[in-house]
């Protein structure tokens, strides 16, 4: 007898033997017991999960000669009918390759043939494999027969692509979907077979086969055959890795480590070693992707063992490795290598794709987590709120020379705010006007003796930056200026009706903002005191007048200063214009 591959040799012959499709086997056996045999079945599912096998077992059950009354769930395997089906020569079980007999003519022949009664058994069973390859016409020609076939006929269709089956066919069949076979089920079946055949493979080796089989038992058995053909009945894990082309976890871990430690040369040497050992770059890349996925899971899950299908010591290894990487970083690595996986197609050499991906991966900057960034941002905000003197802008010194020269002087010559850019507030245009240069604090002594000028500047600034706080401050009236050694005190009064505003300004969150603004404008610490004013209507009027007068004085002074400015004079000279209005911006 010619050597047979395991997938054929170990093809299950009874419903119980079929691996991983209990839902189908049970439905079919119950149907047989109750004598409710449908006249058309459709078996769909991915490659190598037992569709054709199940179809043959069903055919056997229907025709087993040793069963006294009708179909049996346990075909005897010894009667002529069972034997002829196993060997593929039964006159009553017709196995048709749908891909080779896909035309309407073949279906016409089939329609003629189904009329004849079975020769030996009770049923004529037509198994049409790869049924998705029938042409549209062929499917349509089959419809009538499929709806009402002679009572002795059972159709079994098998396909990997049920979406290609017309819905008119689907509705006439009992449709069974075959599941992927789990790794555990594959391992259990492999164990059974190697025990029978006297083959020795480690448990880890079986795990590797099951993983590579990716849900298909035929693939698993095919790998088993290959490795036995390669190394005989004693299989070691190295031989398995050669056959499966998997790198094993050594190189994977080394690669991940090299990447996380940004050791480009090291990582490139690992790629070189892969080539020397005849590893498949594409497969290595997809294994690397899976490994990165494990790392992410290990970082984000509290119980990674449940989600990572690996022995617990490897999970522990992964967990340790994952400690040195951030989730964001791993996500980016995942992105780089998934892209690489796509680039293999059309690359001049697959090794180059991996090399480039590795270089890219070792170059990503470690990302800080969003939480950390947010924390730093808040810290920065707080520091700015306390006053802009702290050096938060280290790198600025380097950047400044490169900054465009056009706007720089306006900011730099500002005498009041100094390094204006570090402040939370932009310098208002009035401060940055060159007119003010050299006048340190002339207003404090001028006029009423109260710092009206600075106060109005503070208010204006708030009106621009924080309008609501600004409008509240505006309601206040400057009462008193107490100069002190450590700090000055500015007393602001609020009228009876404006009590709400006074309260708001004294709130915990407003105070530091106001304080820092004051400090900046006055160039020294100033405490703001808020008092409540109790006055008669007359006094109120007086006060308002006084306030208006202060305002007028302020405007006059600005006008004088502006008119005296040499630049303006020069402009008037050259252009011959006249000044109509001066606006305080």
């Amino acid at each position: 007898m010619d050597y047979q591959v395991s997938a054929r040799k170990w093809r299950p012959q009874t419903f119980e033997e079929v691996v991983g499709q209990v839902h189908v086997a049970r439905t079919l056996t119950n149907a047989i017991r109750q004598g409710r045999i449908a006249h058309a079945y459709l078996f769909s599912g991915m490659r190598g999960v037992g569709k054709t096998t199940m179809a043959r077992i069903l055919a056997k059950s229907l025709n087993c000669a040793s069963a006294s009354n009708g179909p049996t769930v346990a075909p005897c395997q010894t009667c002529p009918s069972c034997l002829s089906i196993t060997s593929g020569h039964s006159p009553d079980v017709v196995e048709i390759d749908g891909a080779s007999n896909r035309g309407i003519d073949e279906v016409r022949e089939l329609r003629e043939a189904v009329k004849y009664a079975p020769m030996a058994g009770k049923y004529r069973v037509y198994i049409i494999d790869e049924v998705h390859m029938l042409t549209k016409e062929a499917f349509n020609a089959l419809l009538k027969t499929l709806e009402e076939p002679p009572s002795h006929v059972v159709f079994i269709f098998a396909t990997t692509e049920d979406h290609k089956i017309p819905s008119t066919i689907l509705s006439r069949c009992q449709h069974f979907h075959f599941k992927r076979i789990t790794r555990q089920e594959i391992i259990a079946q492999l164990e059974r077979i190697i025990r029978e055949e006297g083959i020795r493979i480690t448990g880890q080796g079986l795990g590797l086969i099951a993983k590579a089989a990716d849900g298909s038992l035929r693939d698993a058995l095919s790998f088993l055959d290959q490795v036995v053909a390669y190394s005989g009945k004693e299989v070691n894990d190295q031989d398995l890795q050669v056959i499966l082309g998997t790198a094993g976890r050594g190189p994977l871990m080394a690669m991940v480590k090299a990447i996380l430690e940004r050791k480009t040369a090291e990582a490139l040497r690992i790629v070189k070693e892969l080539a020397d050992e005849g590893q498949d770059y594409r497969q290595f890349t997809s294994e690397l992707l899976e490994y990165i996925r494990h790392l992410v899971i290990a970082k984000s899950s509290t119980a990674p063992e449940e989600l990572i299908d690996l022995p617990s010591e490897e999970v522990e290894e992964i967990r340790q490795l994952s400690a040195s990487a951030g989730v964001e970083e791993l996500q980016r690595l995942f992105g780089i290598f998934s892209l690489a996986l796509e680039s293999f197609r059309g690359a001049v050499h697959p090794g180059f794709v991996l090399e480039m991906a590795v270089i890219r991966a070792t170059r990503i900057q470690p990302l800080e987590s969003f939480e950390k960034l947010l924390e730093r941002f808040h810290l920065l905000e707080r520091m700015l709120g306390e006053g802009g003197d702290r050096d938060l802008t280290g790198p600025r010194a380097e950047v400044a020379p490169d900054a465009p020269a056009v706007n720089a002087p306006a900011i730099k010559t500002d005498p009041l705010t100094g390094s204006a850019t570090a402040s939370a507030f932009k310098p208002g245009p009035s401060e940055s006007a060159p007119v003010k240069a050299g006048q340190e604090n002339p207003e404090r002594s001028a006029g009423t003796g109260l710092p009206m000028e600075q106060w109005s500047r503070v208010v204006k600034r708030f009106l621009q930056e924080k309008p609501n706080l600004g409008s509240y401050l505006e309601k206040g009236i400057v009462q008193e200026w107490i100069a002190g050694d450590a700090k000055d005190v500015l007393v602001i009064g609020y009228d009876e009706g404006a009590a709400f505003f006074a309260e708001y300004i004294q709130k915990e969150e407003s105070r530091p903002i106001v304080a820092s603004a004051l400090r900046e404008v006055f160039q020294r610490p100033v405490e703001l005191k808020v008092v409540r004013l109790e006055r008669s209507a007359h006094e109120q009027q007086q006060l308002q007048l006084k306030k208006d007068q202060q305002e007028r004085q302020h405007r006059q002074r600005i006008q004088q200063e502006t008119m005296a400015h040499p630049l303006l004079k020069e402009a008037l000279n050259i252009l011959g214009g006249e000044v109509i209005d001066i606006k305080d911006a």
């Binding site: 054929r8 891909a99 790869e130 298909s216």
Partner: protein
């Protein structure tokens, strides 16, 4: 066509050969194989050698195992028939035009249904199996699963992922890798009458594709490469009138363009590798490693990675109907940004 080959004559491929020999020695030859790996590296010849060994009527006897050794005698009737390409028990299928069509598969199925004439098994080698059209591939499924007794089918492909998963699942997959430069060099020196430096160049530039290394003229390969690299010279890239005046034949046809892009890709790869690894043995363009290191010093890694990404993108778009010259210019412009520091001057009047 001459198919003179044997396991011993095949360069490299230690793993595949070991797998196939072990299968022959243990009598566990599967009924279907997929040989996959890059094009032109010796998959087809290995398949023929496999069949030849399997069919050999008088294999040398292996004293240690007490059984025939898995090698071919190369002088029996069967071996000579294979060498001359006239063995009746081997069938070779190649794409008919762009595809392998259903009629060709029908022919295979017919041929396999007869008994073998000289040998013990019937062999069928299908080259470029990814060219199977859907009808042919599906028709082949049943045969691949349960072929007539004593038949072996070998599918050969450079694009295994283009095969139906149902086909792959029915075959034993054997992976082939390009032989390394170190393996290729002595072979070239032995089999081709060329100077050592030329052999070195050929071994490197062919990227292990022995089918190319065995036939290509090293002088032509070098000239073609240098012409592409000339277009990458900084002084050319920096001057727009030169940049847009790239030699027309670099992108005249789809084939030319993809060759040119391959050369650029290998060059950029060398520049990056040269920057990160000190040993020059890993470079492809070893003969001009001084130029490589000159680039390595000036161009940033990120810029090269950018350019490579662009090349991959364009390569994927290239089979569609796009302007070849435009593709090349896009790549050159990207490289100009990487190489030339100064902003490009305006078009100079001639």
């Amino acid at each position: 066509m001459s198919l003179e080959t044997s396991f011993e004559m095949i360069l490299g491929h230690a793993h595949p050969k070991a797998i196939l020999k072990a299968a022959l020695a243990s009598g566990r030859v599967a009924h279907a194989y997929v040989f996959h790996g890059e094009a032109h590296i010796g998959k087809f010849m290995t398949a023929v050698a496999f069949a030849k060994t399997g069919l050999c009527a008088d294999p040398p006897f292996d004293q240690s195992s007490g059984r025939p050794a898995p090698t071919s005698c190369n002088c029996c009737r069967s071996c000579r028939a294979i060498d001359s390409g006239s063995h009746p028990d081997i069938r070779l299928i190649r794409p008919d035009g762009a595809q392998i069509k259903i009629d060709q598969i029908r022919e295979v199925q017919d041929a396999l249904s007869y008994k073998s004439l000289i040998g013990t098994r019937k062999w069928c080698v299908i080259d470029d199996a990814d060219a199977l059209n859907p009808e042919a591939a599906n028709r082949f499924l049943k045969t691949l699963e349960e072929p007539p007794d004593h038949s072996v089918l070998i599918l050969i492909t450079a694009r295994p992922q283009a095969l139906l998963p149902t086909i792959r699942s029915r075959c034993h997959a054997v992976r082939f890798h390009p032989p390394s430069q170190q393996d290729l060099l002595p072979w070239l020196q032995k089999h081709r009458a060329i100077a050592p430096t030329e052999a070195q160049l050929l071994a490197a530039l062919s990227l292990g594709r022995i089918g190319i290394a065995a036939e290509a003229d090293p002088a032509v390969l070098r000239r073609e490469r240098d012409r592409v690299l000339e277009a990458l010279a900084p002084e050319r890239l920096g001057n727009p009138s030169d940049l847009f005046n790239e030699p027309e034949d670099l992108a005249a046809t789809q084939e030319q363009l993809s060759k040119t892009l391959d050369t650029i890709e290998i060059w950029l790869r060398d520049v990056l590798i040269g920057r990160h690894l000190p040993e020059p043995s890993l470079l492809i363009n070893q003969d001009i490693h001084d130029r490589i290191s000159a680039w390595s010093r000036t161009v940033s890694t990120d810029q090269i990675l950018e350019a490579l990404t662009l090349i991959h993108l364009l390569k994927r778009a290239a089979p569609r109907n796009i302007n070849h010259a435009l593709v090349l210019e896009t790549v050159l412009l990207e490289l100009r940004d990487a190489v030339v520091r100064e902003p490009a001057p305006g078009l100079k009047p001639n």
